[in-house]
Symmetry: C2
Subunit: 238 residues, 2 copies
């Protein structure tokens, strides 16, 4: 009983292709879509009656972490990066066992070439995340409305107003049509939370920030008066 | 990335010494107490600020399971044992990866000989359960009051009235004083849910049922009119 070995039941395909920009909790960016593609061993039978549940728990592995060790104390973004709390009082991805837990919305179930694909939204999951387990969300057990959430009790406020340059606006519109998803609204949800590390927040200037979203390079700048300016959304494959 | 290895951060000491009788979800038996004793590597620093959270998520291993393999379809007790649902639409302990997830109430934090001991209640955890991770319960993320819970949306009803024989009553009183816990109330909470497998429920007769609770053998019978009669609570060590 000194260690336990787990194999992924499937993997995530997500709009988030790198860690920078991923919201710090699920549900904050409701428009973020992902698919969980189950391995062939896990047939349609394994998910019978799952469609009655609006939300699911995913237990997964923080797989992008191998290079950094866990520490007993972490600086949660919520406290502005100034205060330290214990790793077990945080949801930091750098943990003794790099296990993640996310509640996600189940949008649709698809069976394609005998493979089960769960379409999810509200995700905070990196592309290719290995998933170890799916459990149904049971409101009468899991929804504890009077729970006290310590230093992270309330939903973080929207931090920034998001504006688009003319160019970014047009690119967004074009790509949204091709992708079949409203990228303008998605980008707004992601950036208004300010993905920068806490110690940089509040700064503005000429520095251009970038993240990969789907197959696009999203680029933006921080302006005065808590404004964020989207510069461009370009296909990274061309 | 074909498999991942996790080591327990600590182990559970629970009033439930065997699987039979454990409630099917956390929170159903609010009086059930447990302690999570962390390994020495996980110092007081690891739980700094944890006391601000009323509830915790425990990720753990269903360790009493080795003998039985998982199946794609399971019969959840909720459906009376008649219908089958997919393993991922259930919280069955027999899963491809035997990972458990429980939300528990944090009652108190104790440091004893430099070991961290978390005092918990509302548990559905077997004694000696290996725990892989602790995460704080964040109400704004985890409490989704409008979630739809499929075939298990509502809290299961109390099924039985629990009565005590004179003898059981006296034993309860005596042991409660020694243990410093109200065993009468705890036993009532456990038995009114009817721990029998679904296919036996509704039956009554002379058969005596038993479970281990702390160091006691708890014995009871099923009577007519949805009544359960507690026969005795005897110290199993003497």
């Amino acid at each position: 009983m000194n260690s336990f070995d787990f194999s992924p039941i499937g993997h995530i395909t997500s709009c988030y292709k790198e860690k920078f920009g991923i919201p710090r909790q699920p549900g904050l960016v409701s428009l973020a879509k992902a698919q969980l593609i189950l391995k062939q061993d896990f047939t349609e039978e394994c998910i019978r009656s799952l469609q009655g549940f609006s939300h699911l728990w995913l237990s997964f592995v923080f797989h992008g972490n191998q290079q950094k060790a866990w520490k007993a104390l972490v600086r949660p973004p919520r406290l502005g990066g100034d205060s330290k709390v214990g790793v077990f009082a945080s949801r930091s991805p750098f943990r003794p066992n790099p296990l993640g837990l996310s509640v996600v919305k189940l949008e649709e179930i698809e069976i394609k070439n005998a493979r089960v694909i769960l379409h999810l939204s509200g995700c905070d999951l990196l592309d290719e995340t290995p998933v170890l387990d799916i459990k149904p969300y049971l409101p009468y057990v899991d929804s504890i409305s009077d729970a006290m959430g310590g230093f992270a009790h309330h939903k973080p406020d929207k931090k920034l107003d998001v504006v688009f340059t003319e160019e970014a606006n047009m690119q967004c519109q074009l790509q949204s049509e091709q992708l079949g998803q409203d990228l303008h609204a998605l980008i707004e949800q992601i950036l208004q939370l300010d993905p920068r590390p806490s110690y940089q927040q509040g700064e503005s200037g000429d520095r251009v920030y970038a993240m990969k979203l789907y197959d696009f390079d999203l680029r933006w700048q921080y302006c005065e008066n808590k404004k964020i300016k989207v510069l461009s959304l370009l296909d990274s494959r061309v």
